[in-house]
């Protein structure tokens, strides 16, 4: 098997994980597909930067960075929907979610979370990744991963409790 094919097989195994992350970050199926396709091409082309380790974490990091790039580009073009996503999620969680509507469903509450909290929660709860792995993917210290998860969950609980 060609080296490139071998790598493709390893990466394809994690394609669902890649798409799921992209979908939750972009909140749009078409954009998620674009991000995944882009990320896969980058992953296959940039294999030189892969020095062993966990191929899933490596692919998810590329997906994540591609998603952020796409969101930034969208913001530069003034796409309104994305405005909150790239804002620093320093606002108090309760204020943040109480400003939103339709967060009665868990899916809506998740989609309303700031990008960085949402990605931490998706990687933890849907992918079952450890703090170390999430830290590697998001290029963030482990302590930050822990605090994002704590705040994301608090925001989800607040949204649930404030629902009549």
């Amino acid at each position: 098997m060609e080296e490139r094919d071998r790598r493709a097989v390893l990466l394809l195994r994690h394609l669902d994980a890649a798409y799921n992350l992209a979908r939750h970050l972009m909140r749009d199926p078409t954009q998620a597909e674009d991000v995944v396709q882009d990320a896969m091409l980058k992953a296959l082309a940039g294999a030189a930067t892969f020095r062993g380790g966990d191929p899933r974490a490596w692919l998810l990091r590329i997906v994540r960075n591609t998603a952020y790039d796409t969101l930034s580009a969208g913001k530069r073009r003034g796409e309104e929907l994305l405005e909150d996503d790239l804002a620093d999620p320093s606002a108090d969680a309760e204020t943040l979610l109480s400003q939103r509507q339709n967060v009665a469903l868990a899916a809506d509450a998740l989609a309303a979370l700031p990008l960085e909290w949402r990605e931490a929660l998706v990687l933890r709860e849907l992918e079952g990744l450890s703090y170390r792995e999430i830290a590697e993917i998001t290029q963030t210290p482990i302590g930050t991963v822990m605090s994002r998860l704590s705040r994301a969950r608090q925001a989800m609980l607040t949204a649930r409790d404030s629902t009549p």
């Binding site: 669902d16 799921n20 609980l157």
Partner: protein, 237 residues
């Protein structure tokens, strides 16, 4: 309503995720016994986890995109296998090379191979049901023992069904549980364990014995959560 202690929020999160060491976790649980606020937050976090497990979609990649990204080589038919299987088989091949040649190695390999075989479409369950009262009687008359089938859905592990498999020279019961997209195969047989807890190429194995049965859980789920599954299953006896 009592508030949780501000300085315990991060610890409660880390504990929920299995990221605290045993000493600090025991300390925290000891604290919760005397602190209703922290105990309530722990319950809330557990219930949120269950909500997320049931209400948040795991988006699988559309088939067309998968096809598009698969390598276009002569071995095209091979690529048509679900990618999970192709990668899994490769991972299994590596695992076989990496596992030490200890006395248990054969059965560990055998388990892993059996698990990966079962992940092929249509091979996972012979009886598909989320209800242990359907799965348990299905084994009647098919085995020389009655495997315990337990409900651990409250802990976020959903029963998906069961099947018969042949490992270690005998027919065994396999109970299939799901945690999100992760499949947990729980091998049950009525004698001494034939596999040890192990980790190979992303697959974790946790073994235990209880009530005269030997259990071996294997999954690509991370080791902390697989251990949580083992603990939850044992607690339901």
């Amino acid at each position: 309503m009592t508030e949780p202690c501000a300085d315990k929020r991060l610890l409660l999160t880390a504990d929920l995720d299995g990221e605290l060491d045993a000493g600090r976790s025991a300390e925290l649980h000891n604290h919760m016994r005397g602190c209703p606020g922290c105990a309530a937050l722990r319950d809330d976090l557990l219930s949120l986890r269950r909500t997320l497990a049931t209400d948040i979609a795991y988006h699988r990649v559309p088939h067309a995109l998968r096809q598009k990204l698969a390598p276009s080589t002569k071995r095209e038919t091979a690529w048509r296998l679900p990618a999970g299987f192709a990668g899994g088989a490769l991972a299994a091949g590596m695992a076989l090379l990496l596992l030490p040649h200890s006395p248990d190695a054969v059965s560990t390999n055998e388990l892993l191979a059996s698990h990966l075989r079962a992940l092929q479409p249509g091979h996972l369950t012979d009886v598909a049901s989320n209800d242990q009262h359907n799965v348990k009687p299905w084994f009647d008359g098919k085995l020389d023992f009655a495997p315990p089938v337990r409900d651990v859905s409250a802990q976020g592990f959903v029963l998906d069904g069961g099947r018969l498999d042949y490992v270690g020279g005998r027919t065994v019961a396999v109970l299939v549980y799901l945690r999100q997209k992760h499949v947990i195969d729980l091998y049950v047989r009525p004698d001494a364990p034939t596999a040890v807890s192990n980790t190979a190429n992303g697959y974790n194995i946790v073994s235990w014995t209880q009530n005269g049965f030997a259990f071996t859980a294997i999954s690509d789920l991370n080791i902390n959560e697989l251990q949580q599954f083992a603990d939850a299953f044992q607690a339901q006896s």
